[in-house]
């Protein structure tokens, strides 16, 4: 197979755009799994829920999917806070998070997916917006707006989260919880409240990630499953709890996946993330920028 230069460059650019989007998808899990130690495997299901909300409002009222997702943020935050409360009361407090907590999230994933199937069916759904379709051409490089807009929104989301975590009082409190919950309790702060807020934020990001997903590709309820491997591969490769690490890992995965699908065919790309995950776990479990 001969590799032409512009094909290669375009594949890399497409990969970087995809990587930006992956960063948005991973941001939530970076908080919940990386900082709070909550293995929320249902996160992709919440993302798909976000996609369907964006789809439903977009098709019926013609509102831009990204605007919908921003308006829906408080609802997702509340959903996250409720889920955390149930999780805390039933599992974390009793020290049963490893087996039953995981089964709980798995059940949530399943319920969300099947409910969406019952309501919307298994057809692929897509949204309509002005920026889906046209591309910008920069010399050899093609920049489809369908990919560029989600990537920019994703980077903005990621940047905002990083600023929030490192610069604000609440953000630092979340980092403190991730480091030493007991110490925080001794300083008369309520770690459960902080974790609830953090988990709410983590689920809120799923709203935006969902809207971005349905802009990039048509969505059906079980699409989320392809993202489980990707999300956790990015999280682990970046280093748990490290947002910059997650961004680098997301870009890396995006580029490798894009190269794989350009040169070997798109049906192989889901396997890439798993290769990343296994290799990281086997050789550098701490990740690129791990603690």
């Amino acid at each position: 197979m001969d590799i032409s230069a512009d094909l290669l460059i375009n594949a890399i650019v497409a990969g970087l755009l995809l990587g930006g989007f992956y960063a948005a998808v991973t941001a939530g899990v970076s908080i919940s799994f990386g900082m709070l130690d909550i293995v929320n495997i249902a996160h992709p299901a919440f993302i798909i829920l976000g996609s369907y909300i964006a789809y439903f409002i977009n098709i019926n009222f013609g509102v831009d999917p990204i605007v919908v997702s921003i308006v829906a943020l408080p609802a997702f935050y509340a959903l996250g806070a409720v889920v955390y409360q149930v999780y805390y009361q039933s599992f974390e407090r009793r020290g049963q998070e490893s087996l039953r907590g995981l089964a709980f999230f798995f059940g949530l994933l399943f319920i969300t997916e099947v409910s969406l199937i019952l309501v919307f069916g298994v057809d692929y759904r897509y949204v309509e917006a002005a920026y889906i379709g046209p591309s910008i051409h920069l010399g050899l490089i093609d920049l489809p707006l369908r990919m560029l807009v989600p990537c920019l929104v994703a980077l903005a989301l990621f940047g905002a989260l990083q600023l929030f975590v490192t610069r604000t009082f609440l953000g630092r409190a979340i980092l403190a919880v991730s480091q030493d919950q007991l110490a925080l309790q001794l300083m008369a702060a309520d770690p459960i409240r902080i974790k609830r807020i953090a988990f709410g934020i983590s689920i809120a990001t799923a709203s935006i990630a969902g809207a971005l997903l349905i802009i990039i590709q048509p969505v059906e309820p079980s699409v989320g499953r392809d993202y489980i491997g990707r999300i956790f591969a990015i999280c682990v490769l970046g280093g748990l709890g490290s947002m910059p690490g997650a961004l680098i890992a997301a870009m890396l995965l995006g580029v490798v996946e894009s190269l794989t699908s350009t040169f070997y065919g798109p049906s192989w790309s889901p396997a890439v993330a798993f290769g990343f995950l296994l290799l990281t776990l086997a050789f550098r479990p701490a990740g690129l920028l791990g603690r």
Partner: protein, 317 residues
């Protein structure tokens, strides 16, 4: 009750079920019964790792499909009798289970769970891209109507039913034996406090690897006869979340600490699903499984067996 006695009783119960099925003479009973027996094997296999060691495997579908697809592979290469295929399926899934465990079990438990979740996606990708076993179009396997055995003509579906019955008895007997052996006590120490177990000299990694290999092997065995049962094997349904969720929900609902839990859970949930699939729809039936799973892990963490035990304890002296 020792292991021999238990096996004899289990075989006796199995023969009774078979005699009943034969007397009923309904093909539907064999089809429905096969599915339930298959889930007994899957749930018991899941429980060896999940219930005894406390490690969650979300990839039951992957191990099951490995067994099924190794049968398809052998069928295209050189048709062998189904019992031999079951052994091959066990070896393939057991080896993959060992490999997965070796790469991820040295780390925190959550990594193993995530890796098994991703395993299903990757194996599905492999199968979809592998034309020899049917690719994304799926594979047809035409099973014979009957089978000649010692001069008798046996209905083929009855033959598969008997094989699955034997596997179910074998899986239950293995689980029960483990529970009462040193191995089982070792597993329990891992479940309760792995750090303490390691510190007191329990070879935790070796025990965990034994559990993943054994558990994977039984799932592969459950999958091996599946292509002959279903006739048309398609990647999307073979790797479906249905297998993963059922093999977790059944032990969780029945109770994870003893061999009887997965059995009770499977019989209840399996029969419920057979009824719901026929009377309502298969999507609703999966929704019921999901809701029951979440409800049970929140309200009754020790499953039905746990509820009964608690009641007995309260009533007792």
């Amino acid at each position: 009750m020792n292991a021999l006695k238990f096996s004899l009783i289990a075989i006796g119960v199995g023969l009774l079920v078979l005699a009943f099925a034969h007397w009923l003479g309904l093909d539907y009973f064999y089809y429905a019964g096969y599915t339930i027996l298959q889930f007994i094997v899957l749930a018991t296999a899941w429980n060896i790792l999940g219930g005894y060691c406390g490690y969650v495997n979300f990839g039951s579908a992957a191990f099951f499909a490995l067994g099924a697809y190794s049968s398809v592979f052998m069928h295209k290469l050189y048709p062998l009798p189904v019992p031999v295929l079951i052994v091959i399926g066990a070896v393939v899934s057991g080896v993959v289970g060992f490999g997965m465990g070796y790469l991820t079990l040295r780390l925190r438990g959550a990594f193993f769970a995530i890796a098994t979740l991703a395993l299903a996606v990757v194996l599905q990708t492999l199968v979809v891209n592998w034309d020899f076993v049917g690719g994304s179009r799926g594979a047809y396997i035409i099973r014979p109507e009957t089978l000649e055995f010692a001069g008798f003509e046996i209905n083929y579906i009855e033959y598969l039913f008997v094989l699955m019955l034997i596997l179910a008895v074998l899986a239950l007997a293995t689980a029960r034996t483990i529970e009462r052996s040193q191995l089982g006590f070792g597993f329990a120490t891992i479940r309760d406090d792995e750090m303490a177990a390691e510190a007191s000299g329990v070879p935790t990694l070796r025990l965990k690897l034994i559990a993943t290999t054994l558990s994977g092997a039984f799932m592969g065995m459950a999958g091996a006869p599946f292509p002959y049962y279903i006739g048309y094997l398609q990647p999307a349904s073979t790797f479906g979340l249905e297998y993963a969720v059922n093999s977790i929900a059944m032990p969780m609902i029945g109770g994870t600490t003893s061999w009887i839990g997965p059995l009770v859970g499977t019989i209840l949930l399996g029969s419920l699903q057979q009824i719901a699939t026929v009377t309502i729809s298969s999507a609703v039936n999966l929704l019921i499984v999901g809701i029951l799973l979440v409800a049970f892990v929140i309200i009754a963490p020790n499953g039905l067996v746990g509820l009964v035990q608690e009641r007995l304890r309260r009533r007792g002296p």
